[in-house]
């Protein structure tokens, strides 16, 4: 890429973070006190039942949502400081492309917003790397769901972010395309040393992609599993299956009522 490789991603430290929405009787406690941290350059998968607060946590890390209490620091800085430095990139479940901009225009806009100089070559190169060469001038409406997600990923990577936040980026994509995206795209961001948090529903995806899988229980979320995925396990099919099994069991505990979790533990 034209840009020099950015500094490695920051360490992310969440301390006793809570978030509640609304007040009075309609108050929802989306995140109960939660403390966890992610090492610099780590690629972590967050897994848990839907509605447990994963998106909210991601949005707080990005500074899009203020914690109700507790703190979030990235290498000792607040999210706002990193926002202004153009350090973040985020992909949403629906690609959230601007429909009136072409593929090229959507990707170039990210550089502009991040206050980077316009760099058509970098944009073109990124389009090629997500396999969309030839679609530079297409509008989002002319692309398939999988193609749109690839544009969203390209938009994330073109600013060479220090923190990459992926909120079920392939959630709306069919299984086959998803498997392909999962093998094609992660190498692109793993190489850059960015700290990456990825929310996913798929255990297989989590184990195959991440260095670490954090498993949440249903709301109010607690961490019911925190599993490191050693590099060796990735090439060993048996080890990968065993890990996937481990994650699934932990996830089942988190999913169910506490009683089931105890039963599982007793077995």
């Amino acid at each position: 890429m034209a840009e020099p490789m950015s500094a490695r991603g920051p360490e992310i430290v969440c301390e006793a973070v809570t978030k509640s929405f609304g007040d009075g009787p309609s108050m929802v406690e989306a995140v109960a006190p939660l403390s966890l941290s992610f090492a610099a350059g780590q690629m972590a998968a967050l897994v848990g039942p839907s509605g447990c607060g994963k998106s909210t946590l991601l949005r707080m890390v990005a500074g899009l949502e203020q914690p109700s209490s507790g703190t979030i620091n990235l290498d000792g800085e607040t999210p706002e400081v990193l926002q202004r430095a153009g350090a973040f990139a985020m992909a949403f479940q629906d690609a959230s492309l601007l429909p009136w901009r072409s593929v090229q225009g959507n990707i170039a806009l990210a550089r502009r917003l991040a206050r980077l100089r316009a760099d058509p070559e970098a944009v073109a190169e990124m389009i090629a790397r997500v396999g969309l060469a030839g679609f530079e001038d297409a509008r989002p409406a002319e692309l398939s769901g999988g193609m749109r997600q690839r544009v969203a990923i390209a938009r994330c990577l073109v600013t060479n972010p220090r923190v990459l936040l992926l909120d079920e980026p392939f959630g709306a994509v069919d299984e086959l395309t998803r498997a392909r995206l999962n093998t094609e795209l992660p190498p692109l961001w793993k190489a850059t040393g960015t700290t990456c948090l990825m929310v996913t529903h798929s255990v297989r995806e989590a184990v195959a992609l991440a260095d670490r899988v954090v498993i949440f229980s249903s709301r109010p979320a607690e961490i019911v599993g925190d599993i490191a995925i050693p590099e060796e396990a990735r090439s060993d099919k048996a080890a990968r299956l065993a890990l996937a099994e481990e994650v699934s069991v932990a996830l089942a505990q988190g999913w169910d009522e506490a009683g089931t979790a105890e039963r599982l533990a007793a077995q």
Binding site: Q83, M90, F92, S96, W100, A114
Partner: protein, 529 residues
């Protein structure tokens, strides 16, 4: 409306041409049957008149179109300005919208003569009336459009540490564009209408002047010819904006000119109090604006009445009771014609839309014609209805009904299309009969559009009734305003303006209240969260 415009131009044009030919034949046959009476001139005579008087009509058309264009520009700029104020100061939304509504409810029939006195001869009143008749229908969709973008788009802007300005430049402007265009499309014929009403009030040139002359001389060919020209120009303006817009924003969503009302929330007393405060604040601002404008231009108190003059005239003057009685008589005369016409137009429009939903084969042919006819400013064709149905109540009620019929029809057809396709598929899967589908899925989806049309039709219906009364019946508020304008009884004229504006705003609020109650029962998910 816009999705249709985009669909397939050749097919649409073909259908339109076929409909035009069909209408021409019908028209010709009708003219043959009633030959000799003073109501209908056949297409041949009208064409003849147009050819013989082409240079006269052309000159008038240029004048009217010019005034309409300036008013179009001014009114839409005002709408954009108001929308930007609301965007910058979100708390001002309700207040700005209410004040804008009251100003929109000013009866053109009365503001016309007043403006005529203020401006003297020349195009001032025409341009002002054109501007007044367009700004509200652009302002309301713009309000929706500026907030129409999904939250994620704004999150992306914030993620890169950018603020409201970037969000405005990169997201809001483009997201609002389809709404602005929809507003401009409706505005084009409305501006033409405003300009013509302005010409009715004593201009010396323009299509409005020719209309008045033809009507007074009972010149049937001329009346028809001018109405035809005015209607065609309005339709062409409507389609031209749609065509241009299709080139600028290729993927416009089909949108409804509706602001979804806030839900009925909180205890009754609190809601009533909020409405009361809003009403009071609106009144204070409108009265202050009124007074300020009069004083700022130091307008002559003889014709530019101040709020306290009207108060004196209606309340503290020695014969205030007589003044109030005169207004009351005129108001009730107007009310008994505007209400039946309004309701008839609205429900016939909705009814036809439902019928078309059951017989979808017909819908493809009716919608383009309905959209075309909706863009015809009814005032330009009102003289025809007067000729055809006479100067009695039937004619007036019909004019009002036609005015509300087409917007209701178009809105309801669009609303019916909003029914979620998957729900309908599910119902078909269970072989639910079409009536049950209509009742459970399509009507609830249609209601917001229906009510949006119902709300906007209130001022439109009042415009129609006052114009009809003024041109034809000689009764009611429209006639009262015309009469007082010509006898220089400015106290009574201004009082009538107040009554009409307050009545229209009140009717609009009433429809909004009914809308909220109905939607809360039938389709609570349609209320703004």
């Amino acid at each position: 409306m816009t999705a249709l415009a985009r669909e397939q131009w050749p097919a649409t044009i073909g259908r339109v041409l076929a409909s035009v030919a069909f209408v021409l034949v019908l028209w010709h046959l009708a003219a043959l049957t009633v030959a000799g009476s003073y109501m209908l001139a056949g297409p041949v005579v009208v064409a003849q008149y147009l050819v013989e008087n082409s240079s006269l009509i052309w000159r008038a058309l240029v004048v009217t179109a010019q005034n309409a264009a300036w008013g179009f520009l001014a009114g839409n700029l005002a709408a954009i300005g108001l929308a930007l104020i609301v965007l910058m100061i979100p708390q001002s939304r309700m207040l700005v919208a209410s004040v804008a509504l009251v100003v929109f409810c000013l009866p053109l029939v009365a503001t016309g003569p007043v403006l005529r006195v203020l401006y003297g001869p020349g195009p001032g009143p025409q341009i002002t009336l054109a501007a007044l008749s367009v700004y509200y229908t652009t302002f309301i969709p713009l309000l929706v459009g500026l907030r129409a973008a999904p939250g994620n788009w704004f999150d992306m802007i914030r993620l890169y540490g950018r603020g409201a300005w970037s969000a405005f430049v990169h997201v809001r402007i483009m997201a609002a564009m389809p709404y602005l265009i929809a507003g401009l499309q409706v505005a084009a014929p409305a501006a033409f209408l405003g300009a013509m009403v302005g010409e009715f009030t004593g201009a010396d040139r323009g299509l409005g002047v020719l209309t008045l002359r033809a009507l007074r001389a009972l010149n049937v060919e001329a009346t028809w010819a001018i109405a035809l020209v005015a209607a065609s120009v309005s339709m062409v303006a409507y389609w031209a904006i749609g065509w241009l817009a299709d080139r600028i924003t290729p993927s416009r969503p089909e949108i409804l000119l509706a602001t979804t009302p806030a839900p009925v929330r909180g205890p009754m007393a609190q809601r009533a109090l909020r409405a009361l405060v809003l009403g009071l604040a609106t009144t204070v601002i409108v009265v202050a604006l009124w007074w300020l404008v009069m004083e700022a231009f130091s307008l002559n108190r003889f014709f530019a009445k101040r709020p306290d003059d009207i108060w004196h005239y209606l309340v503290t003057a020695p014969n205030a009771t007589a003044h109030r009685a005169a207004l009351w008589t005129a108001s009730t005369a107007t009310l008994v014609q505007v209400v039946p016409g309004y309701l008839a137009g609205l429900f016939l429009g909705a009814g036809l839309a439902l019928l078309l939903a059951l017989l979808p084969i017909l819908a493809g042919g009716v919608l383009p014609v309905a959209i075309a006819l909706r863009s015809v400013p009814i005032v330009t064709t009102a003289p025809l209805i007067v000729l055809a149905l006479g100067r009695g109540a039937v004619g007036t009620i019909t004019i009002v009904a036609v005015m509300t019929f087409f917007p209701a029809l178009v809105a309801c057809i669009q609303g019916l299309r909003q029914a979620p396709g998957q729900v309908l598929d599910l119902m078909r899967l269970y072989a639910t009969n079409p009536l049950a589908q209509l009742w459970h899925a399509q009507i609830p989806a249609m209601l917001p559009a229906f009510f949006a049309a119902a709300r906007l039709s209130v001022p439109a219906a009042i415009l129609a009734v006052t114009v009809a009364e003024w041109l034809a019946t000689g009764r009611g508020l429209g006639a009262l305003m015309a009469m007082t304008a010509s006898t220089s009884d400015y106290n009574l004229l201004w009082s009538a303006i107040v009554v009409v504006a307050v009545g229209a705003a009140f009717g609009y609020g009433l429809v909004g209240l009914i809308e909220r109650l109905v939607l809360a029962r039938v389709a609570p998910e349609q209320l703004r969260r």
